[in-house]
């Protein structure tokens, strides 16, 4: 399994006249790929904004898969500090799939659940990852 983790601070500077503005959007993500049934599945979950009680954030989860004929489900859940789900996104697709939570305050971690099912609803592959 090939995995690339990123934890970056992104700064953008707006210059208007004599004032300078500093913007910080923290992006946490995982991006991994794994073999499945002769194809390559790629999973991504990107969290933008600030995690924590006062921070605003949102998560986008997606999966790519280059062999058709299966159903992919993607769920992404935002949890508060007491482990209660306060935001979510869900999508089903037979092609690549992506879903985003709406922007919420107070999310301390996200969990993305990617699954591949066949037509009988049997789970062939499932990936659960936490982004904190």
């Amino acid at each position: 399994m090939k995995e690339k983790k990123r934890n970056r601070k992104i700064a953008a500077i707006f210059l208007t006249g004599i004032f300078a503005f500093l913007m910080l959007i923290r992006v946490e993500a995982y991006n991994s790929s794994t073999a499945f049934n002769g194809g390559t599945m790629t999973y991504t979950c990107t969290v933008a904004g600030t995690l924590g009680k006062a921070g605003k954030s949102s998560a986008v989860a997606s999966t790519g898969y280059d062999v058709g004929g299966y159903i992919q489900t993607i769920g992404v859940f935002g949890y508060d500090s007491g482990s209660s789900a306060i935001s979510s996104g869900y999508q089903e697709s037979v092609a690549t799939a992506s879903t985003a939570t709406s922007i919420k305050t107070g999310v301390t971690s996200y969990k993305a659940v990617h699954s591949i099912l066949d037509s009988s609803r049997s789970v062939l592959k499932t990936v659960k990852k936490t982004v904190q």
Partner: protein
Amino acid sequence: MKIRALFNSLSLIFLALCLSGCTAKETVKLRDENKEAIFQSESLDIDWEDEEGNNSMNTGVDLIAAGKGKAVMHAFAVEKDHSAYEQKLYLKDENTDSIKEIPFLFEEDRCLLLAVGEDGVITMLLTSKKDDASVTYTLTQIDDNGNEKNRTDISRQIEEVAGVDNLLKMVPDKEGNVYFWGGSLKVYRLNVADGRMVESDENIQILNMARNKAGEMIYAVYDKDMNIVIRTGNLMDGKLNDIARLPANEDGVGISELFQSSVYDFCYRDKEAVYGYDGNKKRFYKILDFEQSNINSEKLSQLCEISAYTFIGTSTDTKTADRLSGAMVFSEETEQKDRAVLKMGGINIPPIIQTAVSRYNQANQEFRIDMLDYGSYENPQAKINAEIMAGEGFDLLCFNGLYKKDYADKKLLEDLYVYMDKEQDIAKTDFIDSVLEVLEQDGKLYDITPGFGISTAIGRASLLKDKGSIGFGDMEELLQRKEKQGKMQMFYRETREGMLRHFCKEIDRNFERLSHEDLMNWLETAGQLPKETEQTSLLEAVKNKEFLLMTDICAEFNDILIYERMFGEEAVFTGYPFQEGDGTELNCMGMNVGICKSSAHKEAAWEFIKILLDEEFQYYVCYPNCFPVRKDCMERVIRMVSAVEEYTDRDGNNVKPYCCEMTYDDVDVVIEAMNEEEEKRFWSLVDSMKYEDMWDENIMSIVNEEAEKYFSGQKSLEKAVDSMEERIKLHFNEMN
């Protein structure tokens, strides 16, 4: 100095207001003030011609693209044993209802992405695998008859630039450059002039992209305040101009799709509706309301406009076992049905309930359900209660985030057993006994859920085997017994607030039986936990045996079967270590629904509940997102998960011997068919559920406030617990 600092601060605030004013908050209006944005959906009849007349194939429409008054669809048929895979293309013209098949001449390739350019040319991203397992990517353009016009190998560019990113969408611009949007929230542009692929500025997170009405590329991005803004310009050097800021809906700001429109500057959709933006009026219009139109947006994966106010999309909500996904056309409803409205109140109503509502609204000719989601309010339960007090009652309540006991105690809910008893084909015995027992209150059933999870705590048998149900005292004793007690933690990734929430539930259930010392013991233990957890390696924690228990909500069989494979020994599901044990709880995952006593349409509301209790709904919609509550459905799932030989199920599905590859954070395991012993342990876990995983926010805030005073040193442990007890007693007295 202070005045200058104040001046500088005010200047910065002024500037911030000016900057944010560039994209003033937009409001959404209905396009026609007198008419709801209701559309009707029609499934396009794309049947795979099976000359032999057998049903060994599963078919689906997986890709759709539209532009210049036409829509092109990519369809596939796959043998149920996945031994063969065929592809076709179809074209639908805006002026005709019929669809035309286009020959797909690339049998060695698979179509990954599809797009229609400003010139009407169809572009496909094809992929194929060579014998040496390397993958090639080809960009191919065809005309409406399927004839190839152009073909370019872009394998090198994709490998070098996009790497392992998911390519989710492709859009050609007016000049012929091709843009790819990836799951890492980046865009990659393939230049037509030199064949180079360039990546978007790394400081910009792109949530979607499209061409606008004028054919310019537009992007949905986060701004500095975490709003979603539509921008245009050069993405590669980050020089972008704002067009509009997306308005917030009831659940906050979100975007699922951005697409070109022939009427509006652009269209986008979230899970509630499709919106169009009029740049002249600087206003968003709600064009298509999914809920009102009976369209299940969770099952919709692509959407585009084929002509003015007509959309086309792919959906997995086909209700046909052999068809995995279909193409749907959405057009304005000409004659709107005059149906009575049932109001469902709730907070962040879960997708499964939304699916059930969509099914109800599709099937019912007399009633439709309007979901009123209070998720965006600061205190949503108070808002819902205020609506009830004001006489603006609901017909149905979804209890996600609502403390159900309050409504049941105040006799605001109907007893569902009364309705169940009237039905010929629904009986109490159809449902898992422990689920009903936990939900029952004084012999009455005020709510029911289509599925459930099991909130529990799990540990290694070698550490916990001699303990039946685990209490806090046992945990401390176990920790002391361990040689490496400095390293061994009570829990993996538990926080103070998480533990306090569990205390809160125990206080609500067993306050009379809890001693002052119990509460002191708990609060002291919670104080030793971190406020927030850091991302740590689960693999390392398991390998090094760093914890006694790990909490989880098991919602499908893999969630249960993984632990034994992960630990490399028997896993024990002890539940959370409450004082009295019994810490394994029923988790309705926010899907429990009840009928309000004040409803004028109780029978119509019961018809909705019946959808949740339907076996087909629980199997195809609920699983694997949760366990089904019906015994027959659970048995069907168990047969699938226990399969060691191939069989055909009652819907004609070919079920293979069970094998699932599972990744949980950084732990990878392969889960094979569940054996009899594991099935027995599963049922014993289900039977061990004694309480529902829910808590009273009033108690929670008392506990949190007093705990914080202790944690911050404002109060001693003794005094914090004294005040906590006093306030909780007062709360219970008030409630009584």
